[in-house]
């Protein structure tokens, strides 16, 4: 996206019918460290890569418990994510207080989306620079939603956001149809595998990632380092067993796909004035 004369205010439309400030906010999400979410009929798993500002500092918190039955993983401006988590927690507590029952996930994401939309229509505000993967369980089952800064939200079987998330999405696109039948442990394994894809070569250890689960009979909680490391070790063993030919082919295929995606992004940047590509928020 190139700078243009319609991108100063969030309240200024471009001639092509786009709000550039909102799209720039979505770019901020793409810059953040990766987060993935996967859903089966009974469980939802969230996994994130924890970037540390330097070797001396602690890792950023990207997964927040909202209530016993809901948790979120964020990518983008973590400060915005923290503020929104506080809002979501308040909404859940207030609902429980009045109705003595947990807030259904679909209602929570609508309130969050409405809050995000407000910031796209006030000249004295800016859109939130954070995308949230909302994982929750309610009477209607397990749900995974993605809320973006534009105020849109979608339900997903599996999704990935943040930098190098395309690799994780490609991995999950191949396997998502089976997710509904997955057990809790298979879901966790695939989540870590997806995170591994986003690291692209860097070693996956339990110290740089966070995994959280919510499911039937299991309130939202983060897994401890030991459990995560055990799953990672079992993934590594499986990879070592795979034949050399198969191991060589897979990374090459993914490299092609991710370079295709990069080319597509570049093409769209050049074509923005022709409006041949729908603005991201309209999808």
């Amino acid at each position: 996206m190139f700078r243009n004369q319609y991108d100063t205010d969030v309240t200024t439309w471009s001639p092509a019918g786009r709000l550039f400030q909102v799209e720039y906010a979505m770019e901020a999400v793409k810059q953040g460290a990766a987060a993935v979410g996967l859903r089966s009929t009974s469980h939802v798993v969230l996994a994130t890569v924890n970037k540390a500002a330097s070797d001396l500092s602690s890792h950023q918190r990207k997964v927040f418990k909202i209530d016993d039955h809901i948790g979120v993983a964020i990518a983008g401006l973590t400060a915005d994510g923290r503020v929104l988590s506080r809002y979501l927690r308040n909404e859940c507590i207030n609902h429980s207080f009045v109705y003595e029952s947990p807030l259904p996930v679909s209602r929570l994401v609508v309130r969050l989306a409405d809050k995000a939309q407000v910031c796209t229509q006030r000249s004295w505000k800016r859109p939130f620079g954070v995308g949230l993967l909302v994982a929750g369980l309610d009477e209607t089952g397990a749900h995974l939603y993605y809320n973006c800064p534009s105020g849109n939200y979608f339900e997903y079987q599996a999704f990935a956001i943040g930098s190098r998330s395309q690799a994780a999405k490609t991995f999950m696109e191949r396997r998502f149809e089976a997710f509904n039948g997955y057990s809790r442990d298979e879901l966790i394994k695939d989540a870590l595998f997806a995170i591994k894809e986003t690291l692209q070569g860097e070693k996956l250890t339990s110290s740089i990632c966070t995994v959280a689960v919510v499911g039937i009979g299991e309130p939202f909680h983060m897994l401890d380092l030991k459990t995560i490391q055990e799953v990672i070790d079992s993934i590594d063993i499986k990879e070592d067993d795979a034949s050399a030919a198969a191991a060589d082919q897979t990374p090459m295929q993914e490299e092609d796909k991710s370079s295709e995606a990069a080319a597509a992004d570049q093409a769209s940047m050049q074509e923005e004035d022709k409006s041949s590509e729908a603005a991201p928020m309209d999808i």
Binding site: K65, R86, R89, N90, I93, S96, F97
Partner: protein
């Protein structure tokens, strides 16, 4: 605030007792809910677990008690989100006091006792009035049967006055089993003479291994 015949409040009766020990706390309340000379139910719990090591029992108007319990539970949840840990008993005691005083001019008609373990693992009991004045003590009783129970506890537990210097520990040297037996005895005695106390007594014992619950039958008349 003109009360006009108490149409906003109701006294549902009942009695609560708590005793603090060296490493445990016993808290008990009867389970009768009454209005006037009638019994609404024989099976109503006046005890609420607020945190891992903190339990509240109250007598008075049960409608206000339900609201107060929900209020504290919500505040505790917010605390847990912010601080990543459960509230300690002394912290909850201060919160309860503030919550009660917040409604100084339309009070919660509840007479509360808070019991649990403090951060050192020692038993603690806090006793309140309706508007939040509170004190840490070694034992306490509140409610319609309190007048019959406190003199007995004074006799058995001999708590030192809070005005003594140097400050003396208020917790009783009694063993956990002895304290539970004492609580059962005082409830049986109060039931004899207080019409609002009876049916069953719910006894909770909080110690390092968690919270244990016991129910004992009382006279039904």
């Amino acid at each position: 605030m003109a009360l006009r015949g108490n149409w906003m409040y109701e006294n549902n009766g009942g009695t609560c007792v708590a005793i603090a020990g060296a490493d445990y706390c016993v808290i008990a309340a009867d389970t009768r809910l009454s209005v006037g000379y009638s019994i609404y139910t024989r099976d109503y719990s006046k005890i609420c677990k607020l945190a891992d090591k903190c339990v509240m029992a109250s007598s008075g108007f049960q409608g206000d008690l339900k609201a107060l319990q929900k209020n504290l539970a919500a505040k505790h949840l917010i605390y847990q989100h912010q601080h990543n840990k459960q509230m300690s008993c002394p912290a909850m005691a201060q919160l309860l006091s503030n919550t009660l005083y917040y409604k100084r001019f339309f009070p919660y008609f509840t007479f509360n006792i808070l019991g649990g373990l403090d951060s050192d693992g020692k038993g603690c009991v806090f006793t309140y009035d309706a508007v939040g004045s509170y004190e840490r003590v070694g034992y306490s009783a509140q409610g319609t049967g309190a007048g019959l129970i406190i003199p007995v506890l004074d006799n058995q537990l001999k708590s030192p006055s809070p005005l003594l210097l140097p400050a003396k520990d208020a917790v009783t040297p009694l063993l956990e089993m002895e304290a539970v037996d004492l609580v059962k005895d005082v409830f049986a005695s109060a039931t004899e003479r207080d019409i609002y106390t009876g049916d069953k007594v719910e006894i909770l014992v909080i110690n390092a291994s968690g919270i244990r619950q016991e129910l004992m039958e009382l006279r039904k008349d």
